[in-house]
């Protein structure tokens, strides 16, 4: 890359899906920590994708054409869309976090020339594991009524998750999906949706959500309806501090934990390897970078009493 400082340091761009979002903040924090740990002379620049696929595509193009940067870490808004920036104008390494770049959102090995490493988990695989937790809880209940609380059903990623949830739960005849609602990654909207669902189905056994913010909203809805949250299988995704506490206290039965700080660290490590000519892992399993079992329950968390979650949002 042409952007190397004269004294041999590196300039790295971090393309956040949105710089105003806790998850992305945590990834950036991980990158910063890794920079400090490696002791490398690295100049980091955070770019805000504003949750907009087009903005981020522009940013990726800008950073790779300007010649100012030696490497890029990106948290894609739209992995398939970002593929349009490849092949890059200049050959600099790109590490992607959370989502792969390329047409297949389930394929973790680099799909386009230029991406050296992907720090992520196939979304369907993770969703399926979450759903298996529900099936297990439901094993001796017939019928076992489940509600799916998914992000946005016009977003391919969430649609893939919903399909994975359905795929697993349909294999268990005792599990009945009584409603599928959108939570929009928002506590208030999830509160509304679950409150409404409870009007028609007071006797639900499980709420399966892909995001902790949504689960928090569902929890309030249950409490308002006079249902003890711990009396049903309540689970979320993300591993926020609130979520970890809720699982420890038994309010939620489980949570699918993400490790955004560790993912950021891993991403920078791989990028640094690429820059310094060392071996690069083309896929870093994001479920394996943390200190605890990602499919967390009270039991698994009891084994790691110091773990408090890597982010809040």
């Amino acid at each position: 890359g042409g952007g190397s400082d004269s004294d041999g340091g590196y300039r790295v761009a971090v393309l956040a899906a949105s710089s105003q979002n806790g998850y992305n903040q945590a990834v950036y924090q991980g990158v910063e920590e890794a920079v400090a740990e490696t002791g490398a002379d690295v100049d980091l620049q955070l770019l805000d994708g504003q949750f907009d696929a087009n903005t981020q595509l522009s940013q990726l193009q800008n950073t790779t054409t300007s010649g100012d940067y030696d490497g890029v870490i990106v948290v894609p808004n739209d992995g398939p869309g970002l593929a349009a920036a490849f092949p890059l104008a200049q050959e600099i390494p790109v590490v992607t976090v959370l989502n792969p770049i390329g047409p297949d959102i389930e394929e973790m090995e680099p799909q386009v020339e230029g991406v050296v490493s992907t720090v992520a988990v196939p979304p369907s695989e993770a969703a399926a594991k979450q759903a298996e937790g529900v099936a297990e809880y439901c094993a001796d209940k017939d019928p076992c009524k489940a509600v799916l609380l998914v992000g946005q059903l016009n977003a391919p990623l969430d649609v893939a998750r919903r399909d994975a949830y359905q795929g697993v739960l349909e294999q268990h005849d005792n599990v009945e999906i009584v409603a599928t609602v959108e939570g929009n990654y928002d506590r208030d909207q999830s509160l509304t949706a679950i409150t409404n669902v409870l009007q028609a189905n007071r006797d639900i056994d499980a709420i399966l959500s892909n995001a902790d913010q949504q689960t928090s909203g569902a929890q309030v809805a249950l409490q308002n309806a006079g249902i003890e949250p711990s009396s049903i299988y309540l689970t979320g995704g993300g591993g926020t501090k609130d979520a970890v506490t809720a699982v420890r206290e038994g309010t939620w039965k489980a949570d699918y934990i993400n490790f955004p700080v560790s993912m950021g660290k891993a991403a920078f490590e791989q990028l640094h390897n690429a820059l310094t000519g060392e071996d690069v892992e083309s896929w870093v399993d994001a479920d394996a970078v943390g200190d605890v079992e990602p499919y967390a329950t009270k039991e698994t968390l009891d084994e790691a009493p110091d773990f408090g979650g890597e982010w809040n949002g």
Binding site: N21, L153, T192
Partner: protein
């Protein structure tokens, strides 16, 4: 040339035109009550009322803004600032009421900023409030650094969650707020001035009305509503985050216009906006309790809005 219409038929047409949104609201209520036994219960109706308190407040105050011939595109951003400030202050001081009170106070100040920007820059409020909304959301982000503030202070959730005799406090607050605003718009000097400013600002000025002052007050009222709404919402979910309120400004404006308030200013009513809010809310509730594919919700909402509009157009058919 159209045939004769009797006075009775004309009156019926006018009724349909003037009360299209209410008629549709009633139709939807009946349809949902027949479709699902869980719909027409006190608990469900109370829930619907409660869930939409924040939006209804913003729409009620927004009616003043639209009637005065303005737009407030910053209500969503003010709501975000209110949310994070309430959470941050409650969390920081440990005093729940201080936090909840901060939201309306701060948002009234932001409304003042809007009002002053609109009146001194002499720019259409659409653009001015779009610009201030960017500034406000940036402030919300900076207050929190982008992440979530969870409030665990005792009593913080009372405003949003408690009930008095089965009725949510929030609903009571909304009912009071709407009653006061309704009265203000219809029966007070200020309300008349709002209509006059929106209908013909030049004539209002020549009638001795302080047009700029009326405009500023209207934006402050909108801020007050956004702040109150934020306090209720943040108390309900006991956490504040900078994305809160995203898109709320457009939802509120859509509800206001759906109710039949003229986008050109000078004509409108608070009850119309409330009807608009709950018309859209009923659709969402129906989808959730009947477990219909949520991907169709937008489609149905769009079609019902067009139906309301078409109904109102029936009475206007003739030139």
């Amino acid at each position: 040339m159209p045939a004769h219409t009797t006075p009775a038929a004309t009156r019926a047409l006018f009724f349909v035109r003037d009360y299209a949104v209410l008629i549709l609201l009633v139709i939807l209520l009946v349809v949902l009550a027949m479709a699902s036994p869980s719909f027409f219960t006190f608990a469900n109706l109370m829930n619907i009322a409660n869930q939409n308190v924040p939006l209804a407040m913003i729409a009620a105050a927004g009616t003043f803004v639209i009637v005065s011939g303005n737009f407030d595109l910053s209500t969503g951003a003010m709501f975000a600032v209110g949310s994070v400030s309430a959470a941050a202050i409650a969390d920081g001081t440990g005093n729940p009421w201080l936090g909840l009170l901060a939201a309306p106070v701060i948002c009234v100040a932001l409304g003042l900023v809007n009002g002053v920007a609109v009146t001194t820059l002499r720019v259409h409020s659409f653009l001015a409030t779009l610009a201030t909304s960017l500034v406000f959301s940036a402030i919300a982000v900076m207050v929190t650094g982008g992440s979530l503030i969870t409030v665990t202070v005792d009593g913080f959730t009372d405003l949003g969650r408690l009930r008095v005799g089965g009725v949510f406090i929030a609903v009571i607050v909304l009912a009071t707020f709407v009653a006061v605003l309704w009265f203000t718009l219809q029966r007070t000097l200020f309300g008349r001035h709002v209509f006059a400013v929106g209908g013909n600002a030049d004539a209002a000025e020549l009638s001795g009305i302080r047009v700029a002052k009326v405009r500023i007050c209207v934006f402050m009222l909108s801020g007050l509503a956004a702040g109150l709404a934020a306090a209720i919402a943040v108390s309900r979910i006991s956490s504040g985050q900078p994305q809160a309120g995203l898109g709320m400004e457009l939802e509120a404006i859509a509800a206001i216009i759906l109710g039949g308030t003229s986008i050109y200013g000078g004509v409108g009513a608070v009850w119309r906006s409330i009807s608009g809010v709950y018309l859209i809310a009923l659709i969402g509730n129906g989808f959730d309790i009947m477990s219909v594919n949520p991907q169709l919700k937008d489609l149905v909402t769009g079609v019902i809005i067009l139906a309301a509009v078409a109904l109102a157009a029936v009475g206007n058919r003739r030139r």
